[in-house]
């Protein structure tokens, strides 16, 4: 017969001080784990939800980043425009966007120094090809003008990024005329401007990448292979989602240090939980012996104490989750090793993150409760009754 759970709950309530302190210790560990997991979930989200499977990104052969020297020249661009399977816009033009990438340095508003920000140069065609990106304030840039549109998070995180401000790029100041909402894609970290104005400012004759919109997924795959296999072009095509997926290596240092931190903290918390449970067992040795005399078996005593430890851990997990809730959605940035610029993302406490943190706490509770529960179940009844 199992020991009723209410027995454990009452014990936890009776020993308030120890329960609260142990649970808080576990809560801190869980909160740290959630913090790290939420950072990683946010990063993964920013890259895996980016890109349309109907879009094909074309880069120079051998290059895996839009930030490469010498990309697609204007002749190759002509060849690409005539490929079959390309979607057409309302005017009947093929949806192909030649783009260029620059990286500029902007000071962070929170005073933690300056960082690299990606500037994407494109045409209105390129904007149309990314329907998830919407204008949030101001207007889009006018072709032939030194005008830029910044993403919401660039606007919030950096100085000189309000409408009316200007940012120095290359030969002169470019005026901020609008703010866009990227809909959570990797463009969240970017600044957009006119590609033709850039070409005349910098004497650029090539694009660093070309984005092609296919009519459907089948033609997207066909286009990708066609571009890659064409010997004249010396180009490499890939589906847009695949391009962003390879950038999830971003945040590698966070992941690495984060896991070590969470693991060491968890071991420390395990010992603390074990301590509390040993004290609980010692404190109640006469009670346990009485339970045994009443006919509760060893396995049921063992289960009861493990359950009590689990409850303690779950209480800690709940507190930890609640502690971290205010941080959900907070935006932060880290460097992207592929584009050498800042990748902006938000902390995301997804169901998966919360579930993993809870499992993490349960494992701590199990490890912390096993030995004391074993000790409780094994103790000598007569000695305990006398003690």
């Amino acid at each position: 017969m199992a020991v009723p759970i209410s027995y454990n709950i009452r014990n936890l309530v009776l020993r308030k001080g120890a329960t609260v302190m142990t649970a808080l210790g576990i809560a801190l560990t869980v909160a740290t784990a959630i913090f790290i997991l939420a950072l990683l979930a946010g990063l993964r989200d920013a890259f895996t939800t980016s890109g349309d499977p109907n879009n094909v990104l074309v880069l120079r052969k051998g290059s895996n980043s839009e930030l490469a020297a010498g990309g697609v020249d204007r002749d190759a661009m002509q060849v690409i425009r005539d490929l079959p399977g390309i979607a057409r816009n309302s005017q009947g033009d093929p949806m192909v966007s030649g783009e260029d990438i620059l990286v500029i340095v902007l000071p962070r508003l929170d005073g933690t120094g300056e960082t690299n920000v990606t500037v994407r140069f494109l045409t209105s065609q390129g904007i149309q090809m990314r329907p998830e990106v919407k204008l949030a304030a101001g207007r889009w840039f006018t072709p032939g003008q030194r005008e830029i549109v910044v993403s919401k998070s660039v606007h919030q995180r950096f100085g000189q990024a309000n409408i009316g401000d200007s940012i120095w790029i290359g030969k002169g100041p470019w005026q901020v005329v609008g703010i866009f909402d990227s809909g959570g894609s990797a463009h969240e970290s970017e600044v957009w401007a006119d590609v033709n104005q850039l070409a005349s400012d910098f004497d650029r004759t090539t694009y660093s990448s070309v984005l092609i919109r296919a009519t459907d997924q089948l033609s997207a795959n066909a286009l990708k292979n066609q571009v890659t296999d064409d010997q004249r072009l010396k180009l490499n095509g890939m589906l847009e989602p695949d391009y962003y997926a390879q950038q999830t290596s971003t945040g590698g240092p966070i992941k690495f240090v984060g896991f070590v931190v969470a693991f060491v903290m968890a071991v420390g918390s395990c010992f603390a939980a074990m301590n509390t449970m040993y004290a609980a067992v010692a404190y109640r040795s006469r009670e346990i012996a009485t339970l045994r005399v009443l006919g509760f078996s060893r396995p049921s005593i063992l289960t009861s104490f493990v359950l009590e430890s689990l409850m303690l851990a779950l209480l800690g997990a709940t507190v930890g989750i609640v502690l971290m809730l205010p941080f959900n959605g907070m935006t932060t940035g880290t460097s992207n090793p592929v584009t050498f610029s800042e990748a902006v993302f938000s902390l995301r406490m997804t169901t998966r993150v919360v579930m993993s943190a809870t499992i993490f706490a349960v494992v701590m509770g199990l490890f912390g409760g096993m030995a004391p529960a074993w000790h409780a179940a094994r103790q000598n009844i007569l000695n305990a009754l006398r003690g």
């Binding site: 302190m21 210790g25 020297a69 990286v103 690299n116 120095w168 590698g252 071991v267 040993y278």
Partner: protein
Amino acid sequence: MTLARFVRKNAFRNKRRSILTVLSIGFSLLLLTFMMTIWRAFYIDEGSAESTQRVIVRNKVSLVFSIPAYYREKIRALPGVKSVVPERWFGGTYKDANKEKQFAQFGTDPQELFSVYRDFHIPQDQLEAWQRDRAGCVVDADLAKQHGWKVGDRIFIKGTIFPFDLELTIRGIFTAPAKTETLYFDNTYIEEAYKPVKGMVGFYGVLADSPQSVPQVAKAIDAEFRNADRATKSESEKAFGLGWIAMMGNVKAFILSICAAVVFATLLVSANTIAMSIRERTREVSVLKTLGFTRRTVLGLFIGEAVSVALAGGLLGVIATPGLIWLMAQSPQGGFFFSNIKITGMTVLVAMLAAATVGFVSAFVPAYHASRGNIVEGLRHIG
């Protein structure tokens, strides 16, 4: 029996509890010491003597843009400048593009590289061999060991940023004070293989005549090119490195919040233990007081107990830290950074102080209550 002996006996009276507490505090302090060591390496450490003498000059807009090669002689002519060497990031991949085996490649000037990086050492004959071979390269000794390279080996590096590949012959192996994971080759190779970058370099490494003149030299360089075609940004090697760290995100806040969480967790563990042990000894405390021990002494006894347990934990954590750093250095992701950091006496001292403070604070409230408790009530207490 002296008071110190009394404290020690009591602190380890319940062996299992004391060991668990010491272990728990030890793990937390391990993390604290580890984080402080990283903090020190990032924000406090000055670097080697030669490193404090170097200035890095890059394009003001961003490191991604290059700067003209003719700046070199202009920089050299400025007061306080001893040597100038151009460098360019090649960013290629070696062999199977396995991420963990990648390393940095820089195109540079073999004639002057080692006069700017004077803390790098290379045998004279190897240096001369490299200077004679435009398709030659020199590699870091650790890197050479890792890949099993020797002088004369040929290596192939696939260009990703540049539309060509490098076919290099190792002419020399150099040693550096810290792990660099770097290969240097002649920048002429890039210039000849890819015309658009001819006459341009990535950045300059500048050796100033003394660490004190670094700020003036940096200022003078930036002033020289303020109105030039491409303005520059010059900073000490340390500041340049900090820029990379800042790009990783808000590292300071990350480290500080983890430290705060760890200290608070330690406080909870220690307070819990001391509260448990005081509750068990309510009767004993009354006996002590009956025997004539003052409240102050009783308070001191308990605090002494908590501080010694916390210090034992702190000691354990501090001793384990080099082990953790060593472990991290073995991993492919952290190897580069963690093999260059070391725990210092100051860090150890701060960690032990933190442990002692935690012990003191955690014991104060329960011990104070115990010392103030009613004697008769306490003697009646059934634990």
